[in-house]
Assembly symmetry: C2
DNA sequence: TAGCACATGTAACTCGTTACATGATTTG
DNA sequence: CAAATCATGTAACGAGTTACATGTGCTA
């Protein structure tokens, strides 16, 4: 009964603090959602599997709705397999970038439309970069000490944040380069009509 | 009968030149494989769907084995939907980076083992970077003219290559930063023993 | 009182991976 | 002659998305 990657994502969250399935689903949008995602329909069955394997436990707390509200806690065994999994090299990821796939066929698109597409993508990267920069300012001012200690969860979170910052910068800059390459727009056949 | 992303990957390859299902499967490892991948068991059924939709045609050519060898060619309709798809913004991709997920739980790993993990990752990025640099040198010396014209397939391929170069550099540099952060290794409890 | 946040589940479907299956041609 | 390459398919399974289903408590 091997734990799935999603299981390790959930354990990674529960290793920081106990949460409900609902909380975990929310967390799969924002902190962890930057590098792994899942919907609630995946989370609840996965929690059941983790509990069957002895990696988490739950206690019933008061809450709304027709069913029990369950707060999940990681077990010692859960913490242990999580640490073991984290220390082993990740399997080479199969890249899936739909945007790059579009770029691969961009030569079929009129340069004007292509520029529109890239501008939108650049804006998206810029916005995400600013979002990360905001978070970075906050954690850097509030948790300076813990960010330096690699045995704190804050260190790990900060490391992933730095990666996000770096990624968005490189992606934005590449869009910038591509816009420049599209703007040059030599179109040899019409060179007599072009202004520059 | 909406064409899947894999379908557009295959059309993107066929828009450059006709190929067999086998050729396409190989291409899903190397040129396109850098940002999209698929195994032959996905490729063959997808080709049948594309043909049913009128986006590709095949002709039987001589070849080995118990079944016909088919060479697929993109149709005018196929070229058209491919260009339309490429011009429209990509749906925000759900990030799935198992390595970053491990980093998120790296605080549970002994710093010595953590450094080992990051060093291996850095080496992988460095190797991939050098591979891309080799390809870049080749295409830059052989196809300088076409690389400047955004209506050539060479331009599109080169744009994705530049993205690969930029990505690997940023990823390697981030590993470098993380190694530095792990090497500092303050371990406050032992501060009396530490040199700094 | 309408809508949203909280809270948990199942079902149907699509996408992707791994394994099963066959067989000719070329190269060592 | 053994192994790799060329070449095409199907089947079983797992992972992920979307839709279905239910119901409370708070706020506008």
């Amino acid at each position: 009964m091997a734990t799935s990657t999603l299981g390790f994502a959930l354990l990674g969250l529960l290793a920081r603090k106990p949460r409900t399935g609902y909380d975990l689903t929310q967390a799969m949008r924002q902190p962890i959602g930057y590098f792994w995602s899942a919907s609630h329909s995946q989370v609840y069955p996965e929690l059941a599997k983790l509990e069957a394997a002895g990696y988490v436990n739950h206690s019933v707390i008061d809450g709304p709705g027709p069913r029990d509200t369950k707060r999940y806690t990681i077990s010692a065994a859960g913490r242990h397999i999580l640490a073991e999994w984290a220390a082993k090299p990740a399997a080479p990821a199969t890249a899936r970038d739909e945007f790059l796939l579009k770029i691969y066929s961009l030569w079929l698109v009129e340069p004007a439309r292509a520029r529109e597409l890239i501008r939108a993508q650049r804006a998206a990267h810029q916005a995400q970069l600013e979002h990360y920069e905001q978070i970075a300012r906050e954690v850097e001012s509030e948790q300076i000490d813990r960010l330096r200690d690699p045995t704190t969860p804050e260190f790990s979170s900060y490391a992933t944040l730095r990666r996000g910052l770096s990624f968005e910068r490189h992606a934005r800059d590449w869009c910038e380069w591509l816009l420049g390459a599209l703007a040059a727009d030599p179109e040899p056949a019409r060179s007599a009509d072009s202004p520059g």
